[in-house]
Amino acid sequence: MSANRSVRAKTFSLVVLMVLCSSVGDIFLKLGMRKIGSVNLAPEALVTTFRATVTSGMIWLGILCLLSGFVMYLMVLSWADYSYVMPSTSFGYAVVALLSVLILRENVTLARWAGVLLICFGVTLVGRTEPRTNNRFP
């Protein structure tokens, strides 16, 4: 029973950290692109935009966060169920909605908050199930 509990705690904390990392990564990308400005699709403008993205600290911070999130995703899948991790990552919608309002000062509609609330309920239910149900792997 205590082994189960430690698997649950380990899975829970890594999933939370992974979701936070990826969401913060998205926000960094948005902050970086906001500074660079709206992308113009003319070829010469694209080159300028590309140069601006690879020299932007915000964009690199975003990429670093997203990559760390992906590594955590790989790690947690090495022991936890896909059907546990995959729905749990949708908790990121709630984090992104919250950060969009707090940091980016964007407007979030009532319908979107209602959807986010449903997602949170769903993730809570998934979080109450056993993180690992198939032990037949090596």
């Binding site: 890594l14 790989l74 090495s78 896909y82 546990y84 995959m86 037949r136």
Partner: protein, 124 residues
């Protein structure tokens, strides 16, 4: 909904699910790092990057990503995101029948709520 939008939605949903299931299968074969220390995480990553399942999963997920971009050029986000939310349900089916995970009733309910939540958040 036009037939090409439906076809690309199917590509987005099935390619991402197949890619993620393939990566999950690969990571289960790699085995978990014993302790979450930098050195063991590095060793884990080295093993992960050597499995074929990982390299099958990445192009599938990439394909799904580009298919999403194509869809977004044809249809509004308020159609694309809610429709691709179906991948949560398809993913749970894949987990049950391919990865042989036990998807309990509570987990199904959770997956269903997440699907509905994503649909509500992006259609409203």
């Amino acid at each position: 909904m036009s037939i090409r939008i439906a076809a690309f939605l199917a590509i987005v949903i099935f390619a991402s699910t197949a890619g993620e299931i393939s990566i999950t299968y690969g990571m289960k074969n790699v085995g978990e790092p014993h302790r979450l220390l930098p050195r063991e995480i590095f060793e884990f990553l080295k093993r992960a990057l050597r499995t074929g399942w990982f390299w099958l999963g990445i192009p599938l997920m990439t394909m799904s990503f580009y298919a999403t971009l194509v869809l977004l050029s044809w249809a509004p986000v308020s159609l694309v995101v809610p429709a691709t939310a179906l991948s949560y349900a398809v993913g749970a089916l894949g987990a049950k029948f391919i990865l042989k995970e036990r998807v309990s009733r509570m987990r199904w309910a959770g997956v269903g709520l997440v699907c509905l939540g994503v649909m509500l958040a992006w259609t409203g």
